[in-house]
Symmetry: C2
Subunit: 422 residues, 2 copies
């Protein structure tokens, strides 16, 4: 009998870990992603701020699975899903082809959420892909070069003010790294021009890091402000126009750079399934992680919707995607063997956020609270160990040690495709 | 009395070494380049073939000179040069500004030469900038992904055949690296599809590496062929059409990838001077490296034309640009001090070309000929030591050791700007 075929859509943390859990098992795995690499997304902000190279946080999907003969990786964008016929249609560089599946795992992740405000989307940067990170890097470096030639103080302020919206871990990390990068670079290398960057973090709630205990929220804000970042709380963005951001209380921030990290919504791929999405365009799944109302279709990670035993939806976080990936893979194997499926239960090992050099907060096992240098070291270590690929770990380690001791941010290349038509 | 101002156009090897030679000297230096980084161009082919990261062979110009207060670096494209008024007009991100100079050093390098054949230019890749290298990398990786879906053998051959035109060092290095990369990657990671790449090197002369002694030319060809590259001699490219290359004898090579490394011509910036260019659009200079017919204007490197004592034009090579840079800087200093200028004399330490893993040829001091592993080691060492910036040396060293022992080419990211409009 032929092994059942599992098609996995998405090579983010969910899809990658599902494929890993199926490596060497009696299934044939087809792994599809629109990039030819897996991105270690927690470090995208370090690419955007010139501390790391794109290839240091990415690894070709084919390379990850080159030793596993039961896994085939393909580059392509999913054009359609037919849960009745059990097929997925994929477009690769203009050629369409169809995969039949016995089991489908949807793990296409999430997009930035703009809550229907086209102006937010149109005039802001996000940090969801490597391309996003390089866009932001190019943009900021260009602004510095332009600012040198600008005498009008208002115009200069606009160029050198960076507004980050969203007080979650990504917002904090990005704001801290932007501040460190820009002011170091500007101090050292634009010294004839006395440029100075301003970084403002805007959050609509009365505090940063909503899911953290009060003490750590305070610590995070103190560390961010001691670095030099301005924090504005309880004041959501009302309107975004080219060159300026208007907050709810009427405050105008002059800026050419708005970084949007407010929240995410499930990938539009979910809408191909013909099921009604839950809040945030997420696909409702049962506790076995199967899409409710469909056969043999699993959905995991940011694009799936499941409530925890207290009735709260599981947050869209990497550890949840990873743990769901493992269960979905196991459930497919036991289902194929005719045995009963297991239920999802999240093992919360903790959360952490870094703010800048020697600054971080961590909340471990919902009990231990640490902040400052120790939390920062823990953050570094955890991220190093979680990187995919030994070479990436080695390179990132070398880069971090280098950056720490030299304050250097050497990946400051304004680098763009020369001929977008080719 | 104010120090004289030296404007240097171009931060390639010529401009960079001229600025270095003027660091800390009683002159004010303005260094202008259209990129914000210096590119270590001899290793561009390694970026194109996924062995190195762009940032490993590039360093921000401002970073290189951050310790030198008499040097200011600017990003910008030169729009005009007025040798009478002694001004240079530069455009930075849409803003034009003018620099007055006391001395001008033109070091804007060269472009690929297509000898008036628009079809060669339109349908080929070149390797002059980091953007070029990334274009070629993206293109080749995309072809592999597309080839997986193609059944027609002719169509597949077209996708997997890479033609390199030009039997100079760059052509050899590129052909060898392409062959190693492609067949390693294809073997390891497309094993379900049994893809195999073909690399063809085309040269119009009856031998490779024209300036080398006969024995080394032979060695180079043997090493290239033993690797697996096909070499076609005495057969220039006649016509290039989308998807195929026609050679002079009528041979048709089906290919979607033509890499052009036949020769170069001086930067069009030279044409702003109002002097008649020599062969290859190069600007004639006297033995003191001053542009003939102009005052206080020096021209060095690939874009300058000077004959050696035997009446042969100096070739367009990095060591010549570097040595000319030093003399131009010295001549400006002695001229400012009212002393007599020195004449250019090239100290030829030798030439070398690498062909692939453990394969290279070197011709040192026009006497010593070595080839194979020893020449390859010498090539590695020389290029490591010549890299600009300690961090780059460290990173490249780690990458090379890694690549050597693992046969890995991990920088295989198809990475493009997401929104060319922004």
């Amino acid at each position: 009998m032929k092994n059942p075929r599992v098609v996995i859509v998405g090579a983010g943390f969910g899809g990658l870990f599902a494929a890993r859990a199926l490596a060497g098992k009696p299934v044939e795995v087809i792994l599809i992603d629109k990039h030819n690499y897996h991105t270690f997304s927690p470090l995208l902000y370090q690419v955007a701020t010139c501390a790391l190279d794109p290839s240091e946080i990415a690894r070709p999907v084919r390379a990850i699975f080159s030793a596993h003969t039961n896994i085939q990786a393909f580059l392509g964008e999913v054009q359609g899903i037919d849960p009745q016929e059990k097929t997925v249609t994929v477009d690769t560089e203009g050629t369409a082809h169809q995969f039949a599946y016995d089991y489908l795992i949807l793990a296409a992740g999430s997009h930035s959420a703009y809550f229907g405000n086209d102006d937010f989307k149109q005039h802001s940067f996000e940090l969801k892909t490597l391309e996003d990170a390089i866009d932001l890097r190019n943009h900021a470096l260009r602004l510095f070069e332009r600012a040198v030639w600008v005498d009008d103080p208002q115009e200069r302020e606009r160029m050198l003010t960076f507004v980050v919206v969203g007080g979650g871990p990504t917002g904090l990390e990005t704001a801290g790294a932007l501040y460190e990068l820009y002011n170091h670079v500007l101090d050292q290398e634009y010294k004839h021009d006395s440029l100075r960057a301003r970084v403002v973090l805007v959050e609509m709630l009365p505090h940063l890091l909503a899911p953290y205990p009060e003490k750590l929220r305070q610590k995070a804000q103190e560390q961010l402000e001691s670095l030099g970042v301005e924090v504005i709380l309880e004041n959501p963005v009302a309107k975004v126009r080219p060159g300026e951001v208007e907050l709810a209380d009427g405050t105008i921030l002059l800026t050419d750079t708005l970084v949007w990290s407010v929240g995410v919504e499930g990938s539009p791929l979910g809408n191909m399934l013909g099921v009604s999405p839950a809040r945030g365009n997420r696909i409702p799944v049962d506790r076995q992680l199967r899409v409710i109302g469909l056969e043999k279709v699993y959905c995991i990670g940011d694009m799936s919707y499941l409530e925890d035993p207290e009735g709260q939806p599981y947050p869209q976080m990497i550890p949840i995607a990873q743990q769901q990936a493992k269960l979905a893979a196991e459930n497919i194997l036991v289902d194929a063997a005719g045995k009963p499926l297991g239920n999802f239960r999240y093992h919360d090992r903790g959360v952490m956020a870094t703010i800048g050099r020697s600054r971080a907060v961590a909340w471990l096992y919902q009990r231990v609270q640490i902040s400052g240098f120790l939390a920062w070291l823990a953050w570094l270590l955890l991220h190093l160990l979680s990187l995919i690929g030994f070479r990436n770990r080695l390179n990132v380690f070398v880069s971090w040690v280098w950056n720490y001791f030299t304050y250097d941010r050497s990946v400051r290349l304004i680098l763009e495709k020369s001929d977008p038509e080719r």
